[in-house]
């Protein structure tokens, strides 16, 4: 605990919901600690409540991925109640979940990530002036259009779900709505407006179909140099500028990845079960250990609280999970330093380790060539990963690549809805049972475990993407993924360590966070600066 005590004191200085303390030796990060600084107790609230209470409560855990919370919460109930879900309902759920994510892609890039590309530390880069022209907050040429356009995909969400954020229109057995013809045609028109005005005009500078022909990093170079539209697009510019300022060189992380997958092939998941989940997924689940892929199994997950502000040092599977908060002042005396628990996964042959979740993890799983016909296989990002390894740039690139992929899927699902068929099959409300539901929020793994007894919730545990990525050390003293990603980062200007900001934002932790940098020898604070997030996943 000696090293921890050294940094607990500076960690007391918190701004916002996430605090990062980083030790810097001779310009290189030599250690890192992440602190989530707010606790609300949603899992405690859910105990003893109506089985469907999670449909109302869990979306309110996070305003930016509330639709993802709803999506996994309903599958937790579908599996617990053993419902039948009609094809139409699965399509509508898929559409809604994907629309939330494609809302988040430009909003995250322009409002949260790209504004750091205009940091004055890059003023000497040849393309700096162009970066400022495009991405400067509020006044950049791309900033306002992208913010406004990002609200379009969730108009489709509202057509099916009434509103976004915070609808609860998915229920066990289906969805509450039954769209009319014009609901579907309007949705298609909105989606294609978004494709035309942002995805193709601003982001790709060319067609979606041409972009999706890219299977390798070399293909991307060919695409880039094919015409001026591609080269000058925000995508083309980002990839060129990111390499110019070195974002492809740091922020590697733990190098192991987890995706729970999302979107179901409707006819393969009419009777949702935990066991049948992986095979029915379109965007696949899996674990990548740095060398090879493994099947995903929720039974291999446990949460550790050794360094978290909860009672004791328990290490439990979520079905047995507990949430017993303690006063942080007391916790610090025992080496605890954050409200985030430490989710860990038992990787075959390796044991319980931290795993990175999010778009990069999803795309590395998508690169596994062993897949069923209905499942997404996309080798592009995995090829890039093999060529250059994980980095800030690749994490951002993986996320942006999904815009094109998700557009195609939503467009297809909209054509598959059969308006005269059912959208809901009333389920039997079972008094006992347990269920598991998961999805890919924009920023990664999101899952619920529910235990029902006597017609009410006996236990409810949620694991968020941020819990995986900003998790603290575990009982084995393994750092969390974001803590690991800071290790070895070269900080050019300790007074303004923008590199640390890039790493934090590349994970899109969706917590507001502040970085504190300390001199490894003197312990003196070098700098602090505000990062921005948008939610509390």
């Amino acid at each position: 605990m000696a090293t921890l005590d050294l940094l607990v004191s500076p960690l007391g200085r918190v701004e916002g919901d996430l605090d990062l303390a980083v030790k810097i030796d001779d310009g290189v990060v030599s250690d890192a600690w992440t602190t989530a600084s707010m606790f609300r107790g949603f899992e405690i609230i859910l105990r003893g409540k109506d089985p469907q209470a999670g449909l109302i409560v869990t979306p309110r855990i996070c305003g930016i991925c509330g639709g993802s919370h709803l999506y996994k919460a309903v599958y937790a109930l579908d599996t617990a109640w053993k419902t039948e879900v009609p094809v139409n309902a699965t399509l509508v759920r898929n559409i809604a979940q994907a629309c939330e994510t494609i809302q988040s892609i430009p909003r995250w890039f322009y409002a949260l990530f790209a504004i750091d590309l205009t940091n004055k530390n890059y003023a000497k880069s040849p393309n700096y002036a162009e970066a400022v022209r495009r991405f400067a907050p509020f006044v950049g040429a791309c900033y306002e259009p992208a913010i406004v356009i990002s609200s379009k995909p969730v108009e489709i969400y509202a057509i099916f779900g009434g509103q976004w954020p915070h609808s609860s229109f998915m229920i066990p057995g289906g969805v509450m709505s039954a769209p009319s013809l014009s609901d579907v045609t309007r949705s298609i028109a909105i989606l294609d407006w978004w494709r035309e005005h942002w995805l193709e005009k601003m982001w790709l500078g060319g067609s979606v179909d041409r972009w999706l022909e890219n299977k390798t990093w070399d293909d991307v170079q060919t695409w880039m140099n094919e015409n001026k539209g591609h080269y000058e697009s925000d995508c083309g510019f980002f990839l060129r500028y990111a390499q110019e300022i070195g974002l492809d060189k740091f922020g590697q992380g733990v190098g192991r990845f987890l995706a729970p997958g999302t979107f179901f092939q409707p006819e393969l998941y009419t009777h949702p079960t935990i066991e049948g989940r992986n095979a029915a997924l379109i965007s696949r689940a899996g674990v990548y250990d740095g060398k090879t892929w493994h099947e995903f199994d929720q039974a291999r997950i446990k949460e550790d609280v050794t360094h978290s502000f909860y009672e004791g040092k328990k290490f439990l599977h979520p079905f047995e999970g507990v949430t017993e908060p303690i006063d942080p002042e007391e916790g610090r005396k025992h080496g605890k330093y954050t409200w985030s628990k430490s989710p860990r996964y038992d990787v075959p042959g390796i044991g319980y380790v931290p795993l990175e979740v999010g778009p990069l993890a999803r795309q590395i799983i998508a690169g596994n060539p062993n897949h069923a016909a209905h499942q997404n296989y996309d080798p592009l990002i995995y090829n890039c990963y093999q060529q250059m390894g994980p980095s800030v740039m690749l994490r951002a690139f993986a996320r942006m690549h999904e815009a094109a992929r998700y557009y195609k899927m939503v467009r297809q699902w909209l054509t598959e809805i059969k308006l005269h068929d059912r959208f809901y099959i009333k389920p039997v409300e079972r008094a006992e049972g347990q269920g598991f539901g998961a999805t890919e929020a924009a920023r990664g793994f999101l899952a619920d475990w529910i235990v029902l007894k006597d017609g009410k919730i006996a236990n409810y545990q949620v694991i968020t993407p941020t819990a995986w990525n900003v998790s603290p050390r575990d009982g084995q003293e393994n750092r969390g993924p974001m803590e690991s990603a800071f290790m070895g980062v070269n900080v050019a200007d300790a007074e303004d360590p923008v590199e640390l900001g890039h790493v934090a934002r590349s994970f899109d932790s969706c917590l507001v966070c502040t970085v504190h940098a300390y001199d490894g020898k003197s312990g003196a604070e070098l700098a602090e600066f505000q990062l921005n997030g948008n939610g509390s996943c």
Binding site: G41, G48, M176, F423, F529, Q530, S536
Partner: protein, 323 residues
Amino acid sequence: MVSLLWLQGGACSGNTISLLNAEEPSIVDLVTDFGIDIVWHPSLGMELGKNAQKLLYSLARGERPLDIFVYEGTVIMGPNGTGRFNMFAERPMKDWVIELAHQAQIVVAIGDCAAYGGIPVVDPNPVDSIGMQYFRRHKGGFLGADFRSKMGLPVVNIPGCPVHPDWVTQILVAIATGRAGDIALDDIGRPKTFFTTFTQTGCTRNQFFEWKQSASEFGQGTRTGCLFYELGCRGPMTRSSCNRILWNRQSSKTRAGMPCLGCTEPEFPFYDLAPGTVFKTQKISGSVPMDLPTGTDHATYMAHAAMARVAAPSWSKEDIFVV
């Protein structure tokens, strides 16, 4: 220029995210066209660097003028009154809130959590959350019943989970364009202009409500009927403008087939989500709704309902929102 500080306590950021969906004005327009100077907001690209705390202290001490203090989320009091479940800039958030609220010209509670407590205060209220000037419907809250901001106003409550972006932008524009005096508040601090009509006002299911025709079930069942009778809709007794100013410019929960949860009222979530209360109309002796449309009583309601059912035209029993 109108200075605005926005902080988040026991929050999900949903009100901020909802605000980003705004158009006419967008969040960018508020800054560039209406001169709202967002001195700090947790999600927007404001660069503050190491001056963040200095700035907050200068606002909290009154050294720098603060026109609008927006607070999103509950005020977290636990554990044991220390506020340490929610630390912010070296201190419990509640300590910042009380100082900033007393320096601001206008204090705005955004969302149900800040206004009345919302989801975080649901039994057992694990972190001892409280609203800015209310705890549910009880006046007092964190700042006290007698609190007035420098302009002499109680906390302006803009509830909803989340708020509709227009409810926020139009109030901010009103303040920025010198119409603060036109913001009349109801007896629980809500701007009357948005919270006098009911959620039901403008609902596309009103004809079914009139003839007491119920939607039979969710999904295809919502192609006809009203959601009030069986599916737990609180539209007839919830004050909001959800069906006057549509969500995401497209729809509303009740139009889409989702029952209103009453999230602009202090009691949200109703019945503390007790078993049997979610998406189900609570009944007396198995048939009569326990909670009635505002302003009616059970005797009148039953007489009216019986008459309406007899008088109901045949089309009111058929699908109307058809393919």
